[in-house]
């Protein structure tokens, strides 16, 4: 497997078929993903509340299917960054990408299709997590800067002794 390289033309055709096959099992995959998210729900914060997990599971399956068709890694990175800013926890991110990869095994693909699907889901997971990590870092740095400003302003307002 080599998730680092873009798929060949031949593999692209296989991926379209894989995407169709996975789309027919979308509900089952979303259910697996939901279970994975529920098991790690306390790692989440901000907007990622338990009540939203079902909706997030549906959305993320749709995103993987879209990725299989387009191979757009930048979009996957942006998605990861967005989830980070919404408050998806590290454990949930890992559980989610693992569950999405697991979807390929659920799909009863033939050997060659499975190879191509696993490579593609690996690329998706890498891009998503790359975006996620970078999004987290951005958030932390922004917060640090805001805290510094806030402290500074409060200190400036305090009467000097």
């Amino acid at each position: 497997m080599n998730p680092g390289l873009p798929p060949s033309l031949e593999d692209r055709e296989i991926l379209n078929q894989v995407a169709e096959q996975l789309a027919s099992q979308k509900a089952a995959i979303a259910s697996e993903l939901y279970q994975a998210l529920r098991a790690t729900d306390m790692s989440n914060r901000l907007l990622i509340s338990p009540r939203r997990l079902e909706e997030i599971a549906q959305e993320e399956v749709g995103t993987l299917l879209h990725f299989l068709e387009t191979g757009d890694e930048e979009e996957a990175r942006q998605r990861g960054a967005r989830r980070a800013s919404e408050g998806l926890g590290e454990r949930s991110s890992l559980a989610m990408t693992e569950a999405l990869r697991g979807a390929c095994w659920m799909a009863n693909l033939d050997r060659e299709a499975l190879r191509v699907a696993l490579e593609a889901s690996g690329r998706y997971a890498n891009a998503f997590l790359e975006g996620y990590l970078s999004g987290r870092e951005d958030e932390i740095l922004k917060e640090q800067e805001r805290v510094r400003h806030a402290f500074q302003r409060v200190l400036e307002k305090q009467p000097r002794s």
Binding site: N44, R45, L47, R51, F151, V154, K157
Partner: protein, 265 residues
């Protein structure tokens, strides 16, 4: 309520420990160390905090979209991050945040920037009359007394007298249809060794924690009564099963993960 200002980064602070337990980054090494100590004693506590914090978006939507309030006054707001009230209210809603901590206020004002109809003032939730009497607040509200108040995640810092006082002031100040959304924290049993250590840790930080059973709370806010939804545990609120270990159940038996309620007149 913590008496000390959050400005001193060399001593642990309850507000920053809370932020750490919620997975935020507005905290320092000293806060994280104490936060870890508390989590080691009471592993359920960070879960309880997250469960209560996740309600804020629901509270904002329910009060404004479903119940039609166009003014929300939130006490002890902390940091107005992207999950806070103003992000989930109906368009055109005025949100007034407040906190006793000047750093949270400065931070909040920076996050909010020029967000229309959202304001942030320094005020102590134990004396709501002070916020309501601020000239800026009087100017924003005018004669409007039809408001929804929010006290979410602060009950443990308020004594019984503080709660009774705040409930009475808000009741007298607001109109007949106003509402008070309140989260009564589920606290660890003081008699349990773990609970006793936690209370002591906070005491060492100079911060007294208060706990009370639901029946006592109802007495304190007796002018108000719960709406048809009643007092809901966090599990009920979120419609999920909240996994509590045997130890959690022993320590948190009295209040579980706490109760959220909409109080009406």
């Amino acid at each position: 309520m913590p008496e000390k200002t959050i400005i001193d980064a060399s001593v642990p602070n309850a507000g920053r420990i809370y932020d750490y337990m919620l997975g935020g980054h507005h905290n320092f090494e000293i806060d994280r160390r104490v936060g870890e100590q508390i989590t080691a004693l009471l592993p359920f506590l960070p879960k309880a905090m997250r469960l209560s914090r996740w309600c804020l978006q629901d509270v904002a939507r329910t009060l404004t979209v479903e119940r039609g309030f166009r003014t929300i006054i939130d006490f002890a707001s902390g940091l107005p991050t992207m999950d806070h009230i103003h992000t989930a209210v109906a368009p055109g809603t005025t949100v007034i945040y407040s906190d006793h901590d000047p750093v949270a206020v400065e931070y909040g004002q920076e996050i909010l920037g020029d967000t229309p109809n959202v304001h942030y003032f320094e005020a102590d939730c134990r004396r709501p009359e002070e916020l309501l009497a601020r000239s800026e607040v009087e100017e924003i509200l005018g004669d409007n007394r039809h408001v929804a108040f929010v006290y979410w995640g602060v009950s443990m810092y308020m004594s019984d007298e503080d709660i009774a006082h705040a409930a009475r002031i808000l009741y007298d100040w607001s109109d007949e249809e106003s509402c008070l959304a309140f989260y009564l924290a589920g606290m660890a049993d003081r008699e349990s060794p773990e609970g006793a250590k936690m209370y002591e840790l906070y005491r060492q930080m100079g911060e007294e924690l208060y706990d009370r059973p639901l029946e006592v709370f109802e007495e304190l806010v007796m002018l108000w009564h719960s709406d048809e939804l009643g007092y809901r545990s966090m599990a009920e609120w979120h419609g999920i099963e909240v996994a509590m270990s045997e130890e959690d159940l022993k320590i948190f038996a009295a209040g579980g993960s706490g109760h959220g309620v909409y109080l009406v007149k």
